[in-house]
């Protein structure tokens, strides 16, 4: 048993997936003999997450993110290795464990479809054995934080995707979980709603000291919420550390966006031209060369504006995956 809220050591999950060629002949053959293929969804990952920490869990589709969250929340049995959450082995699905965690998935509906969310909340109160006073206080606090208001009185089926996601989150947090697994909580939502949910997650964590593990394809979610990221690909961890360090480690370059007075001539001698839009040129230069190239540009060109930036996090992540694929 460790002090970490989440402890994972050499965790593995394999699935036997039926496999056959297309067509009637192959379908008939599979009646007699079915071929299966072993897929390693998670392939020996290890990490610890301290209580109160918020960690971004990043990776492309099929990387093993959701499978990991499902193992940590007790939905899936592990194929090997260790997983511990709040001192519990998740697959045992002990009541005390399930009362202290929540898994929120962006594409899942847990509320009663035809009834107002308030009725589902009441059901959750009885399932989680929440004392009524605590339930009412939590419910009202969550409704206020997420600005849900009267939406909880409408049948769930009449809510928009974003509205439904917000009431789903209220329902998932009524029991005040200590560990929160958020799997693509902002998927399909508009920018305003994404921002509202990001702000909420930060506020919830601050108020309750919750440990949060977040997966998202929107880097804005990760940048706004997570100092630490774990990058996973093909079921293996490629990076685990500060978000800023990820950029330093993987992307040994910076971008310089420069606007010139006399139109943009050939700037390829300064660095790799990655974008050109009229007088505005974006250059990619090695990190160590940034200061020297900037000084040269200012001295040799008629510069109207100049910005030096770290590469966008999307590009950095893409680079991590690209490096992995090359290996």
């Amino acid at each position: 048993m460790t002090d970490a809220a989440v402890h994972v050591a050499d965790l593995r999950k394999t699935f036997d997936v039926p496999e056959r060629e297309a067509g009637l002949k192959s379908a008939t053959k599979s009646l007699v003999r079915r071929k299966t293929k072993e897929v390693r969804a998670v392939d020996g990952i290890s990490f610890d997450i301290a209580a109160g920490e918020i960690v971004g869990f990043l990776g492309p589709n099929g990387a093993g993110k959701t499978t990991t969250l499902k193992m940590l929340s007790g939905l899936l049995y592990v194929s090997g290795g260790e997983a511990e959450v709040l001192g519990h082995v998740p697959s045992k699905r002990e009541r005390d464990f399930l009362r202290r965690i929540s898994l929120v998935m962006g594409n899942r509906n847990q509320l009663q479809w035809d009834l107002p969310a308030l009725d589902s909340f009441e059901l959750n109160r009885s399932i989680y054995r929440i004392p009524r006073a605590d339930f009412l206080r939590n419910r009202d606090e969550l409704v206020e934080l997420l600005e849900v208001g009267d939406l909880v009185r409408k049948p769930v089926r009449q809510l928009s995707l974003g509205e439904r996601m917000k009431v789903e989150i209220v329902g998932s947090l009524l029991h005040q979980p200590q560990v929160l697994f958020l799997d693509e909580p902002t998927i399909g939502l508009d920018v305003t709603m994404q921002k509202r949910i990001r702000v909420f997650v930060a506020e919830y964590r601050q108020r309750h000291g919750a440990t949060v593990m977040l997966t998202s394809h929107y880097m804005a979610d990760v940048e706004a919420l997570c100092e630490r990221v774990i990058v996973i690909h093909h079921g293996r961890i490629l990076f685990d550390g500060d978000l800023a360090a990820l950029s330093d480690t993987v992307a040994a370059w910076k971008t310089i966006a420069v606007a010139l007075e006399n139109g943009a001539g050939d700037l390829s001698s300064y660095g790799e031209v990655i974008h050109r839009d009229g007088d505005l040129v974006t250059l990619r230069v090695p990190k160590a060369e940034t200061a020297r190239v900037t000084a040269r540009l200012l001295a040799e060109q008629e510069v109207l504006d100049l910005n030096v930036e770290d590469p966008p996090i999307e590009d950095v992540i893409e680079l991590v995956f690209a490096q992995e694929n090359r290996e």
Binding site: R99, L103, A210
Partner: protein
Amino acid sequence: MRTLPLAQEGRLRSLADFYLTTIRTAIQQQFQYRAATYMYLIGMVAEPVIYLVVWSTIADQSGGTVGGLTAGEFAAYYIVWTLVRTMNIVFTPYGWEERIREGELSGQLLRPLHPIHYDLAWFAGGKVPWVLFYLPIAVVLTLVFNPTFNVRPLEIAVFAVAVWGAYLIRTFYQSALGLVTFWTTRVGALFQLYITLELLLSGRLVPLTLMPYWVQTAAWFLPFRWTFYFPIQTLVDDLSNKQLLGGLAMQALWTLIGIGLFSLVWRYAIRRYTAVGN
């Protein structure tokens, strides 16, 4: 961070609170689907009415009785049948199949309460509106078919318990069957086999006394007769007190076996859950 304290009441009282809350929610849900409930009941009533018309006609043409049962006794049998059928509706293996295949089980596995409690409570709640809708139908059937009833208070009391016994037995056996989905992905064929056996061995198709002797004998060793025939018998036949209480004891026994079977299958099945899609 602090953990929320558990509600002060004990485990059993909390479970009762959960059942009552779920039953209330299920009733509300049923009322949302009024039209569907009416249509469902019409479908439910059609089956016994067809049996009733067929057997009443045969009885009339056979000098008043078939296998010792009069037209009035047939009428009583199938009117009570309708109520028993309404009461013993459970979450089917098809429901389990969809829940497992589509990954909907995930939401329920995250809760600190076994999903079977939810099914038991939800379908118990659903019965309240169904029984309310059944009452006027029973009155009409009584006026049309003149059933023969001779009921004692103890028989009514035993019936009130027996319909819930039937509900428990069907829940656990059909749920255990539904868990087969974890191995086969589809469970429809097995469920059809189950329903065929139930039709023949439970008294659902015809009163068991009309079945061949070997069928009646086989029915004694299987759970099916306790889900239809016995509850119906409590109101329709003149069972002795010993037979009435013995029947309840048999229901309790089959329920315990069902719980054991379901628990055993669950223990192995849940390890195979892949939570696809959700």
